[in-house]
Symmetry: C2
Subunit: 385 residues, 2 copies
């Protein structure tokens, strides 16, 4: 079937790609940026396509806060991935041509060492898991690339927190990144992003089951994690989308005005958020949510590098910057500013402006997941895919 | 001193007005809209100015979610009020001319009967306090007006949740409201407002001290209330304001990158929100926050009245509608839509258009408190003050 697919006619729903199941590699002991240490870190990843002989066709894809390695369906895991249309035969990252690598972030809960992983004595790290920065995660991913024999990526691509990591890759390892795509993320986490993040971490820590982070073996702090997800999810969606989908409708079978003391029932938007909260609580570890959220708060490409201008001046990669027009958490203006600064970077010496590509979506931030295909042509062109 | 003040030269910081201390009146037993009942409700209020002989000079001011009766300083309480510049000699609501009444909302914790009030046996109502709607609060305020002998208000003025109550007054009691000002509030609570409210109520209920609402006598659920306040406060402020004031600065003396395991210190915006959270937790009852938040979720002037168009067609009051241009919780578009619908209401029969007055403020929703003076002239003119 795949011979009918060409790059000029990308399809969103093709057949599963017969690629890897989740694999894990050790990168050995790891020293964290602010002084933490783990005796061994394993990085989990999925791959698509085949690494060529001179190892020049590797592309790194980096997930968002609660994302996983599962960018696209594989034979081993035919579930659609979170950027299903991007990777596969005939897709922008054509797996006939590119070797795509998607690791789970350091501190996560999809196979990479994180707070729920066991220490050498067999106890979960829990509260002892080190404070992790975006830079820690990028350095861990570089060690994985070393293990896999990948000296340089043709492209590093990420959205939201994945975009923060992609940008850090380009600034930290300019010789290892030929192209970078930073989607729905600016050059640093802003005051508002930090503020919303703090209310989320506070909710998890308030949960009576949190137990200071050492809750494994007991009930998980699902209530707190669910509140964190509710807050986050609202910020990932636009006001117009929530109003258009739900308005003030009551949840079917419930009546917010139906009882005399405790409110009788929920509005539909509450039920929707309850559902989102429950779904995340079942699939994600609360400590990983804390670690990754605080890592995202740390995102600041200019930190310790003489500011953003100086840091981005060192970026030599071809740079692709995109934002969602209705995003009210990672505002397009922040991506616009990043694009402007990258235009002034080393890329400019090669005569390349870095424009902002706008994804037109009414739903808000999550449009970077649902509507990326709108900018596939520009992504392919800029990154020379 | 006051003889030097005239209405044509309003001042913001005049001498305290020698008016009432907090007073309380019983409105007797109260039946709530969805079936709850209290054997006795007391409404607390402050007043400014003197009710004239024919009781035609009364103005009702209604507070926002965590507001109180203290609109402006008095001799009894010289603390500046939350709309300090609005009420007093020479101010838009000139107390030489108007009798201003500001009640605490039903369910609140500033003197009016609420969840922390005692039942006839001397126990706090707590979890037994009835579900309260905006309409319940308006009906309770009308009973207070009856007690005070006020048949009709020259104006009912409110912002945010106070705006919701003001609009309900005008729709419920057209014969008792000659003018209405709805500031920074639309015709109904939207899906987004309900969504952010739900995450706040969930945080309070998650607090291990909440005890199902019956926490009086034990520690208060200050952690949950603090998280609710953090979420709310972010939504009351604009992204630009948070970024301009705080950016990514660390809190002085703290270092977010200063420790190896638990994150070493806070960003300044976190410290700011911690401060806001602590301040509210010390001055507000968590159950009242729940009751009033759920009341605000209930706001929908069209409910049971054949929709908003029909409900607003019954409004005969002179109508003043204002919004803050940078408000991202009570969006100006929602106030614009309310103004449009009011233009089509009974007011129109008198040849009055209802324009939207925009308060120009960079800070977001809270601009309705800090920058109302920008629209004083239009407020005075529209309400014939």
């Amino acid at each position: 079937m795949t011979d009918t697919l060409t790059r000029s006619t990308p399809v969103k729903d093709g057949p599963p790609v017969p690629e890897s199941a989740l694999r894990t590699h050790s990168i050995g002991p790891f020293e964290f940026e602010t002084g933490g240490r783990l005796p061994n870190v394993e990085i989990a990843y999925e791959t698509w396509g085949t690494l060529n002989a001179d190892r020049s066709n590797a592309v790194l894809i980096l997930h968002a806060l609660t994302g996983s390695t599962h960018v696209a369906a594989t034979a081993a895991d035919p579930e659609p991935g979170w950027w299903e249309g991007l990777v596969g035969p005939g897709r922008p990252l054509d797996t006939e041509k590119w070797f795509v690598l998607a690791p789970n972030m350091l501190g996560g809960c999809y196979g990479t060492t994180g707070p729920s992983s066991l220490d050498p004595d067999g106890s979960p790290w829990g509260s002892r898991f080190p404070f992790t920065t975006i830079r820690d995660s990028v350095r861990a991913e570089a060690l994985l690339a070393d293990v896999l024999g990948i000296e340089r990526f043709h492209a590093v691509v990420g959205g939201s927190m994945g975009g923060a990591r992609a940008l850090e890759w380009a600034a930290t390892f300019p010789d290892r990144v030929a192209g970078v795509a930073v989607i729905a993320c600016g050059a640093h986490s802003t005051a508002e992003q930090i503020a919303f993040a703090q209310s989320q971490t506070a909710a998890i820590r308030l949960d009576p089951h949190f137990a200071g982070g050492d809750y494994y073996g007991g009930p998980a702090p699902e209530g707190g994690l669910g509140i964190a997800r509710r807050i986050a999810h609202i910020t990932y969606r636009s006001e117009a989308e929530l109003q258009g989908r739900f308005g003030r409708s009551p949840q079917p079978g419930e009546d917010p005005f139906g009882a005399p003391v405790a409110r009788g029932g929920r509005y539909q938007v509450e039920s929707y958020l309850d559902h989102q909260a429950g779904k995340l609580a079942r699939r994600f570890d609360a400590n990983s949510y804390l670690v990754l959220t605080e890592a995202l708060m740390s995102h600041d490409v200019g930190r310790g590098r003489g500011g953003e201008g100086a840091a981005l001046a060192g970026v030599t990669a071809r740079a692709f910057v995109a934002a969602v027009d209705s995003d009210r958490l990672y505002w397009p203006e922040q991506s616009q500013e990043l694009a402007r600064q990258l235009t002034g970077s080393a890329s400019r010496a090669e005569g390349r402006d870095v424009p902002l590509h706008l994804i037109n979506s009414p739903i808000g931030h999550d449009g970077f997941l649902t509507d990326l295909e709108q900018v596939y042509p520009e992504l392919v062109q800029t990154l020379e895919l």
